[in-house]
């Protein structure tokens, strides 16, 4: 539960800070870009601004279902973690190809969140001892 909470915080903060530490995107965050798109610029449909929610939404649903047990919850947990990790790590990989120097805090937080989620996922497969 605490691990899922930490992973969710890391994923939410990751979209609120710049993903580059130098160059053009170093002054802006994915959330700021989403907010700009929501105002309707560059001919992009404003609804596209909500795409920035993909990462935090998966992390927050994972946090919400953290206390749930059973195969259904576990399957949902695995799928959501795979979606978050897949999207986040793909973006980090693309940024890393641009310039390893440029990769900044947002990318680091995505990696941290993914690792925390993986550990939490591993713990969630352990059946708790019976209460008594």
């Amino acid at each position: 539960m605490a691990l899922w909470a930490l992973a969710a915080v890391a994923w939410v903060v990751a979209v609120s800070v710049p993903w580059f530490r130098a160059g053009v995107p170093a002054s802006t965050s994915p959330l700021a870009v989403g907010e700009l798109v929501r105002t309707g610029v560059l001919g992009v449909p404003p609804v596209a601004g909500y795409l920035v929610l993909v990462l935090p939404a998966s992390a927050l649903v994972l946090l919400g279902i953290a206390p749930l047990r059973g195969p259904g919850a576990l399957a949902l947990r695995v799928v959501l973690w795979l979606v978050g990790a897949g999207v986040g790590l793909t973006l980090v990989f693309v940024l890393g190809r641009v310039s390893a120097f440029a990769v900044g805090w947002g990318a680091a937080l995505v990696v941290v969140a993914t690792v925390l989620g993986a550990v939490a996922l591993a713990f969630s497969t352990v059946r708790p001892a019976a209460v008594r």
């Binding site: 979209v15 907010e35 206390p67 209460v131």
Partner: protein, 248 residues
Amino acid sequence: MTEPVPQRPDYAVPAALPPSRDEPPAGPSDDGLWGGRGRTSLKVGAWVAAALLALPVVVPLLAPSPTGAASPEAAVEQLLNGVADLDPVAIVGAIDPDETDDPARAEAAYDRLSGGLLRLGEVPSLDVTAVLLAAEAQLGGDVDTSAVATLAALDLDLDGLRTTPGEETPLGTRVHVEAGDLAVRVDPERLPGDVAGIGRASYTMPLAEGWLAGGVPLERPSLVAVEHDGRWYVSLEASADDLLGSAG
């Protein structure tokens, strides 16, 4: 005579056996984190925590900050500071929405400005020029990973920016740039491998002087701001028309 006592098997009493560790508890229990009320509280708490964490992400998207600026001067300063900060959100937010909605229109206006405005005086070194050309390639929509990486080697600082209050013209509100120095520094250690041969370099550009517009010395450089729905934006088209003459 006593009657014989019937023989009965000696069964163990199941209730006396300790519960198996593999069996789940018989029913909801009020003790422990995973049973009864504790578990319900945990479920509610998890969703409440998730909802609270979602707020700082969802609220800005539901009610985004308005683009543009409160005054013509603020719009010009937002654009120039956005350029110095290499902040695409600030730059796009400061430009006339009619132009940003049509990238070809904005690009044509930018091309007119960059082609018609020339610098006098100190010529930047080839190293600075090479990096600035990479920057310009991005502004022209010709983005590639090398150009993005090259820009990561660039540090810009805008000091002492001062503008005059707006002056009404038929094109919009003209705002003069009275002072401001844009310092450009290149750090070769940040350059990608395929941009070789560029050394450490710097260049300072005084924004208020040293311009030629269409071959004629420009006494007071300016940009033109226009109003949309109570907010002010810099119009690249109107600025180009004002500085270089009408395109049509």
